[in-house]
């Protein structure tokens, strides 16, 4: 599938016209990842805004280590085809606050964050269209996080294994 077509199928860019999508396509690069690979890790600089062209990627948050020193991650959300990850590339301080793990072989569109921000600044119509949809993505992720953190309270931690 062409990059332009993939971008158009993504909710964040769905309201842009063909010419605007083409401007974003030229700053986009396609990369492939195997299942089990990380697209990015928490704390890394967020330079690319990412669209999942194909596959499934888990977004994870690392929890503080338990008393026994065990550290583990909890899945906040699972991102599927045509959804976005790495919105930190468009929002300061441009650092990823979650880690990723590919649950399947994945094809990911990497859009240059700096170039995209410049384009959004110079063409407010594009900027408004993208940010309007991006806010919905951030809101839905916040909602998922709330659910996950609430349910996490009841998940037995490894330290409690002996209780069973």
């Amino acid at each position: 599938m062409k990059i332009e077509e993939s971008l158009k199928m993504c909710r964040v860019f769905s309201e842009l016209n063909q010419a605007d999508v083409q401007k974003i396509a030229v700053m986009t690069e396609l990369k492939e990842y195997e299942a089990g690979a990380a697209v990015f890790q928490k704390g890394e600089p967020a330079r690319k805004f990412l669209v999942l062209q194909e596959g499934k990627v888990a977004l994870q948050r690392t929890l503080p280590a338990t008393q026994s020193g065990v550290q583990r991650s909890i899945t906040i959300d699972i991102v599927s085809t045509n959804e976005v990850i790495g919105w930190s590339a468009l929002v300061e301080p441009h650092v990823h606050d979650l880690s990723t793990l590919c649950l399947q072989q994945a094809r990911v569109l990497h859009i240059d964050g700096i170039e995209l921000k410049k384009l959004m600044l110079h063409e407010p119509k594009i900027g408004y269209g993208v940010m309007k949809e991006l806010i919905k993505v951030i809101a839905s992720r916040l909602e998922e996080t709330t659910y996950v953190l609430a349910s996490e309270r009841l998940v037995a931690m490894p330290a409690a294994a002996g209780a069973f």
Binding site: A37, K56, A58, Q60, R72, C102, S151, V155, A161
Partner: protein, 224 residues
């Protein structure tokens, strides 16, 4: 006598649990527990220490006495915890897709994409791939109805197997012609062609199997 592999299966949907169970049982392994959420999967795994755990990607976290479902993204969390705590348990995180309604009749079969089309997914292949030091592998499969499965190779021969069968028949026919001394001139090239076809079939099957293992994905020690 070979020990039967004891498997914990976990999925929110009873139909998916049935599909998993069907695949496991078909290959002589034994389902020792069925879980429908993260908590029960962890509790059963810690209690029973299964040889393998087959876990659906979408497994809910539940909360309260009514077991209200919150996030459905707990499959990876359960798989990671079991893999980390139980070194003997080989964990397979399965992303099973199906089109249309799963009717629960057990008529569904898990298949995977390969270079040669859809192939039935073998539990023992997954179990072997999940062997230590990886401990946790990622697999994805399509749940298809039986007629599609049969077409895809359920009970029929796959393309490489057909190559090998034709090659074998070619060798046999060529050898027979050579023995009669009447058709040796035809028999020898026929036997050679048969051998080459059989070798090609073998090579394709090995290549297909290797690609399938690569696609299944192996989690390295630098993972979570």
């Amino acid at each position: 006598m070979e020990k039967r592999i004891g498997v914990l299966i976990a999925s929110e949907q009873p139909q998916v649990r049935d599909i998993f169970e069907g695949m496991v049982k078909k290959e002589g392994a034994m389902v020792i527990a069925r879980a429908r959420d993260v908590n029960s999967a962890l509790r059963l795994a810690r209690h029973l220490r299964p040889d393998a755990a087959l876990i659906d990607t979408y497994l809910p976290h539940v909360i309260g006495l009514d077991a209200n479902r919150l996030s459905r993204t707990g499959g990876l969390d359960a798989a990671t915890i079991i893999s980390g705590e139980m070194s003997r348990t080989q964990v397979i995180l399965m992303d099973a897709r199906h089109s249309g309604a799963v009717d629960g009749t057990g008529e569904y079969l898990l298949t995977r994409e390969s270079a040669w089309g859809k192939m039935p997914l073998r539990f023992r292949e997954l179990y072997r791939d999940a062997a230590r030091p990886a401990g946790l592998i990622f697999a994805s499969a399509d749940a298809v109805t039986q007629p599609v499965a049969a077409e895809a190779g359920g009970d029929r021969l796959s393309t490489p197997e057909r190559f090998m069968l034709v090659g074998g028949l070619g060798i046999f026919a060529g050898w027979f012609l050579t023995l009669t001394m009447v058709g040796a001139l035809v028999g020898i090239p026929l036997a050679a062609a048969g051998a080459l076809t059989m070798l090609a079939g073998l090579a394709v099957r090995r290549l297909s199997s290797r690609r399938a293992r690569q696609r299944a994905g192996r989690r390295g020690s630098t993972g979570l």
